[in-house]
Symmetry: C2
Subunit: 337 residues, 2 copies
């Protein structure tokens, strides 16, 4: 392995002190333009890369942000992660993945331990970890910056979110527009704020369409395929069956389609089904699923950029909004006569 180029070598080539090179590298002020250029070309010529550990040690920063998650959806997570990674790349930061068990009694210990070991400069929180009061309190105590993705309480923190209520509202409008009068809903996991938003959007959508809320048509779910299957079994066993089911996510919607097909119902002729999230699977099942596309990758990137900006400027960041889109596919159609 070739000997490492150090900042001293760059300084010598550029004819300045180490400290000036350091200033250029860290975009600090008070460097003359020609000096900056001279240093920059020395850096390029030597292909110099600062040693991350030395930077961290001397600068009291880890150049690390941690992505905390407890989410079974690989696709969602990979998208968020890709976005965070993209942001880190431009900002010369590193990202570490932190799988956690949100319901474990050792949840806080696990977080503390990870923070103690890795010393991240900031955290990205994903649902449902966004909504652990104990964690938020502790982070405030530690003075550790964090950005939340789709947190329940969007008033008080930095991060990114989508208007999920509005998206669910639009979805119900879509179904009502196709003539459906008995539109069911399978709720998401209780620990997730998204479940409430989507349920609220469902209710508001019904109201807007002049349909009255029927508690029989709303069943519990927990975002898993199996819970979608169970929900569908209850809904399709009703004497007055719904003609459309809006599931709070795609996995559950897939469960509904499965049950419908098993019972000999045609989708969408006999039953329309829609989901939420636009997972890759939603395009692969038959029929392809009508769903709400959430720009997860952008959300990851935006949350990370905002977090990093707030770390640099040492001030609170904003809560940003991203748009959704309805993906109308084959699983929804006109209500049966």
């Amino acid at each position: 392995m070739a000997v490492r180029v150090r900042i001293e070598d760059v300084a010598e080539v550029a004819g300045v002190s180490m400290k000036t090179v350091s200033r250029v590298l860290n975009r600090e002020p008070n460097v003359r333009e020609d000096t900056r250029l001279r240093v920059q070309s020395a850096v390029d010529a030597l292909k110099y890369k600062p040693h991350p550990s030395a930077r961290s040690l001397a600068g009291h920063k880890s150049f690390l942000i941690a992505l905390l998650y407890d989410n079974p959806s690989a696709n969602y997570l990979m998208e968020i992660m890709a976005g965070v990674l993209a942001a880190c790349e431009t900002e010369q930061y590193n990202m570490m993945m932190c799988p956690l068990d949100f319901n474990s009694p050792n949840f806080m210990d696990a977080v503390e331990s990870m923070i103690g070991h890795s010393q991240p400069d900031g955290l990205i929180l994903t649902p449902p970890i966004t909504d652990a009061p104990e964690l938020l309190t502790r982070l405030a105590e530690l003075g550790l910056a964090f950005a939340s993705i789709s947190p329940i309480n969007q008033g008080t923190c930095m991060g990114v979110a989508m208007n999920e209520t509005r998206a669910a509202f639009d979805m119900v409008q879509h179904l009502a527009g196709l003539g459906h009068r008995r539109i069911a809903h399978i709720k998401g996991h209780v620990a997730h704020g998204a479940s409430d938003w989507r349920l609220n959007g469902y209710c508001e959508g019904l109201e807007q369409a002049g349909l009255k809320f029927d508690p029989v048509l709303v069943v519990d779910g927990e975002f898993s395929f199996d819970s979608g299957v169970r929900g569908a079994e209850r809904l399709l066993a009703l004497k007055k069956r719904p003609t459309a089911v809006f599931a709070a996510n795609d996995d559950m919607a897939a469960g509904v389609i499965r049950v419908a097909l098993e019972r000999g119902l045609r989708v969408p002729e006999d039953l329309s089904v829609s989901g939420f999230d636009d997972t890759p699977m939603s395009r692969q099942i038959f029929p392809a699923l009508t769903t709400v596309r959430q720009p997860s990758r952008d959300m990851g990137r935006i949350a990370a950029l905002e977090l990093l900006a707030s770390i640099h400027k040492r001030e609170a960041g904003r809560m940003l909004r991203v748009p959704y889109t309805l993906e109308l596919r084959r699983s929804t159609g006109p209500a049966p006569a």
Copy 2:
């Protein structure tokens, strides 16, 4: 934020020198048992965590391994990642994710840049990055350790693999055992060794069953759902249709099922379909897919453990084997009469 506990503080409490604490922490030899215990209890009492950057800087190690990938399958990657992460946790290492574009002309530059910036102590390679000769050569030059997951050339490197040929063979046996005589295959992406292994297993399986290889029944694919759709369209348009399709992965198998259902064929009554990988989706589509389960998480963990062991011992690691299992589900059944 509380003031950091340093190794010096631990040394003072334990009544030894910093260096002895360091020895205990790094499990170095030549420390008396009672000294070790005394130090350990001081560490526990103070909740001391070594500063990672200081360790790296002084010890000329980064305590970092990088997971390189260019793989569209989120599930596969998350499983591998979870395994690697688990291994890292026990060994006090960190992992960084490195998405790469294997086909980009800048592939090597991207790798070099990442290595330069992050200085990992080792790499985990996933297909198809396992098989880039230029990369392997360069890593040898750099003396950088790496473990490969399912590489084509398993003779010369450390890592982990499964007998995919044998698994494909078994799958074809399963289909032949159900009475199928016209068994088709949709190949995987040409850049992946797995495609060849699975094709070979298919051929061997046919031979074992006394069926002769028919080139018409083997079509190209590239592991994507869409390529499965295209393959199925070709196969199902044949005058003498196959009664079973063994796709080289689950996504393509899902594509086959989609096309079959669209054409009014029943699965498995009219067409049996099987895949490979056991993605979560394989259980969620209708009918649930017969497939080969690959213990990806274990593979990630084993590869990482072997890599870390080889880094510590400074010697070459082994190529390890993991077992597969056939998951027989509803998408395969007796051949039509």
